[in-house]
Symmetry: C2
Subunit: 244 residues, 2 copies
């Protein structure tokens, strides 16, 4: 494997997004196109909550490994975004409001009782990656945020136009993400461009981003299998009201 | 929660198997009933290889935490079963022979390159459970072996009668499991009956077995979604020849 220039590396990272980011998954096309029932949207919100609530765990895990005040200050902002500054603020809280907005009970969502096991396994794999792999790989795995503003714009406009049970307040989670994600991914991309110098480091960074895409994709596969086609809900997982 | 007697606890453990063990999954009904193509059987063998090759990792992880020679001797037998005594022996090797028998290339299988990401996440969750939870929970999670002799008998007779590409030699993995699994689960069941004394310990043991069933079920969900219905193979995963 030859060593890439930083621009070539960035192009390869962006190529992974073009191939593997979960905007290409049929479940998202159904979600954004208004093709899901309220129960299916609830299943999405309930499962995605586990991803949201583990994001600050993931960021704190990485924070604890970062060696300098500069890096820790940068990464600490992510915790502020997700955990907020006081009760009732932050991304995790806004996701709970989204879940309530689509008709779920907050305590049920927080309990993670009806979670698909595959959601838990995929999200836990993300925390494990950030704990067990190099700091370069941990930072590279966050680069799916390069691709998120497009999907967020599609999601918000699609869901608002297609679902009468979805309001702008319900989707309040996404508004700050449109500025937070580019700010965060600018930093992470600059870090990877600078620190992935050998061919081995560059391949490791690419593999970490591929794994992160797999983690997001596997969550949608599990939702699609349980709640869309063939609609085979695993034992113990959330059963939407309309099917009960 | 009241404290159960050992017999009540055993009945509750067996009840989890009756409800959640993966013999109830439609993928196994298709596999054993001769309803899969050779490519679908290959996908099963390739993905299940990762489970097989991580079983001794799981057992070594637990072995390292066991406090007495008695317990370690008992658990060491599991490593002997899976890793063998010399090259060409042991359960992992026999699984590779199964994979070759259904037409896969050994090096491809060993590389785990075409693995479904969801298989990796589920199997890694099993190793993590055994590393991170109590010894009681780790041992209880092995109790799916209480339920495996039935499924093995069904699988071997079903696959031999329905698939002309499957021979008794190909399925040689399963023969020793019919005696190893009951021996191992007898020990694990006796351990759990004796050591799960408080209501909390009993509930933790039951939850660990439930999680293990989820780990097995999620692997079949992922196979079913990718290779049966809707047949949506995730980016980068194994594509059977018949669809290439």
């Amino acid at each position: 494997m030859p060593v890439m220039t930083p621009d070539e590396l960035e192009a390869a990272l962006r190529g992974i997004g073009a191939e593997r980011y979960h905007n290409r998954h049929p479940f998202h096309r159904l979600l954004h196109g208004g093709k899901l029932t309220r129960g299916q949207v609830q299943a999405w919100a309930l499962n995605r909550y586990y991803y949201q609530c583990q994001i600050p765990v993931k960021d704190a895990t990485l924070l604890a490994r970062l060696p300098t005040p500069e890096l820790r200050r940068e990464w600490r902002r992510r915790l502020e975004d997700h955990d907020g500054d006081r009760p009732g603020t932050g991304g995790v809280e806004r996701w709970l409001k989204l879940a309530e907005g689509v008709g779920l009970d907050r305590a049920t969502v927080e309990s993670t009782a009806g979670l698909l096991p595959a959601t838990r396994f995929a999200v836990d794999a993300y925390v494990a990656l950030v704990r067990d792999r190099s700091i370069l790989e941990a930072i590279a795995s966050s680069l799916t945020e390069l691709f998120s503003p497009t999907i967020i714009a599609e999601r918000v406009s699609g869901m608002l136009s297609h679902y009468d049970f979805v309001t702008p307040e319900t989707l309040g989670y996404f508004t700050p993400r449109l500025t937070q994600a580019p700010r965060d991914s600018d930093f992470a991309l600059a870090y990877v461009r600078e620190h992935a110098r050998t061919a081995e480091q560059q391949q490791a960074a690419l593999a970490a981003l591929r794994t992160k895409c797999d983690i997001l994709w596997a969550q949608l596969d599990a939702l699609h299998h349980a709640y869309v086609t063939p609609g085979l809900i695993p034992p113990g997982a959330f059963v939407p009201d309309e099917r009960a």
